[in-house]
């Protein structure tokens, strides 16, 4: 199905530009053109189709659905909704407060917010097209587990103690049923509205991520063409236990969305980086960034922020190690 992009790249680089597939430059450029054209077409088409289906999903509905529900199932639901509900990352704080003031426990809100950046349609599409369905499925399961277990953990240490006072008060009010629920959520929408939503989503997301794709694939192409075979495996292979925490530590302050980092991950993996290390790196760049932590400071005290940071660090490191050791077993 993706052969057409390989053919297009061959035609452009080998036939039109006359570069040889044997040269490093030719090889790297071919890789670049093939991946970029494939990703661009997939993104626009698939984001449109997915947005068409989920135009009626929104955070308000999720909140109303989760409010007052049984705890144990809520974690699974919150994490699942986090994966499929669209919202701009700059809405994290209002979403957090909206959930909180509806009386939803902090752990469940965080299950939603942690899963959301890790799993989204762009990430899933890229993983499917670059690394295959097995890896994609693994990624989704692990991403949801991070959200669910992270949320459960925060709940077990009673994280709500360390909210900023106004947020804690909103939570208290919400629990006592004084929370407001302004309802604009239950409007039904027409097909034309769906189409408009999907069109603007496709254009908006594409406009935001295309440069990440270029940068990501460019880095990937450079690695692909210029890093000697076996170098990565030798120096950062699964034998080096420290490479996983190192990857996470490098990844957390680095901010990228999934779109930029997945192409890099693909070429790291094909160049011999163990899957666990790659996964740990990818998740840590996507899940957390310093600007986001600074924003969260508005609703959480430092203590809770530090716990959250440690939680991410530990869980991504564990994921890395587990997947690297599974690799030995396979």
């Amino acid at each position: 199905m993706f052969q057409i992009f390989t053919d297009f790249a061959s035609w452009l680089i080998y036939d039109l530009m006359g570069l040889s597939a044997e040269t490093k430059l030719g090889d790297a450029l071919h890789f670049f053109v093939e991946d970029v054209s494939k990703i661009f077409v997939l993104l626009v088409v698939m984001i449109y189709l997915i947005a068409l289906m989920r135009a009626s999903m929104n955070v308000e509905k999720v909140r109303d659905f989760l409010a007052g529900r049984n705890r144990s199932i809520s974690y699974l639901l919150a994490s699942g909704f986090g994966a499929i509900t669209p919202f701009c990352s700059c809405s994290s704080i209002p979403v957090f407060l909206g959930f909180t003031s509806a009386g939803i426990p902090v752990g469940i809100t965080m299950a939603f917010l942690l899963t959301s950046p890790l799993i989204n349609e762009v990430a899933v599409l890229l993983l499917l097209s670059l690394l295959g369905w097995k890896f994609t499925l693994m990624y989704i399961v692990v991403g949801m587990l991070v959200g669910i277990l992270g949320g459960l953990f925060l709940d077990s240490i009673r994280a709500e103690r360390w909210l900023q006072s106004f947020a804690a008060k909103a939570l208290e009010n919400g629990r006592n049923g004084q929370g407001d629920s302004v309802d604009m959520a239950n409007q039904t929408i027409t097909f034309k509205e769906r189409h408009n939503f999907a069109k603007s989503e496709a254009l908006e997301i594409f406009g935001r991520v295309w440069k990440w794709v270029i940068i990501g694939v460019g880095l990937g192409a450079a690695l692909h063409g210029f890093v000697p075979d076996g170098w990565i495996e030798q120096h950062l292979g699964a034998g080096q236990w420290w490479s996983v925490p190192a990857a996470v530590l490098v990844g957390i302050p680095l901010y990228s969305n999934a779109t930029g980092v997945i192409p890099v991950m693909e070429s790291l993996i094909t160049n011999g980086l163990p899957i666990g290390t790659a996964l740990a790196f990818c998740m840590s760049t996507v899940a957390a960034s310093f600007p986001e932590f600074i924003l969260l400071k508005q609703v959480m005290q430092w203590r809770l922020l530090a716990i959250l940071f440690a939680l991410l660090l530990v869980s991504f490191t564990l994921i890395g190690w587990i997947f690297n050791s599974l690799l030995f077993l396979l």
């Binding site: 929104n58 955070v59 308000e60 909140r63 919202f87 701009c88 990352s89 700059c90 809405s91 704080i93 209002p94 979403v95 407060l97 909206g98 959930f99 003031s101 106004f166 909103a170 407001d180 629920s181 302004v182 604009m184 603007s200 924003l295 508005q298 609703v299």
Partner: protein
């Protein structure tokens, strides 16, 4: 005079929304008062979770994303 508030924590979409209202108002020659609200407490008090949202004379008229130009013109001429 109509008073608009744009609620959002400061991302690019919120800025474009403010700009869109300003531009449409000056195109139509209508004088408006625009305020950008970044304070999470105030945003919460409006019951808004999906930003940017638009508040016209203290009623939330729009949330989740940049409004369309027609919508903005509607609010201005209402």
């Amino acid at each position: 005079m109509k008073s608009f508030k744009v609620l959002g924590t400061g991302c690019a979409k919120c800025k474009s929304t403010v700009q869109l209202i300003k531009d449409s108002a000056s195109e139509l020659g209508i004088e408006v008062d625009i305020e950008k609200i970044e304070d999470p407490i105030q945003i919460m008090n409006y019951g808004v979770m999906s930003t940017p949202a638009v508040v016209l004379n203290d009623t939330v008229v729009h949330k989740r994303g940049i409004p369309s130009k027609e919508q903005v013109q509607n609010w201005l001429q209402k």
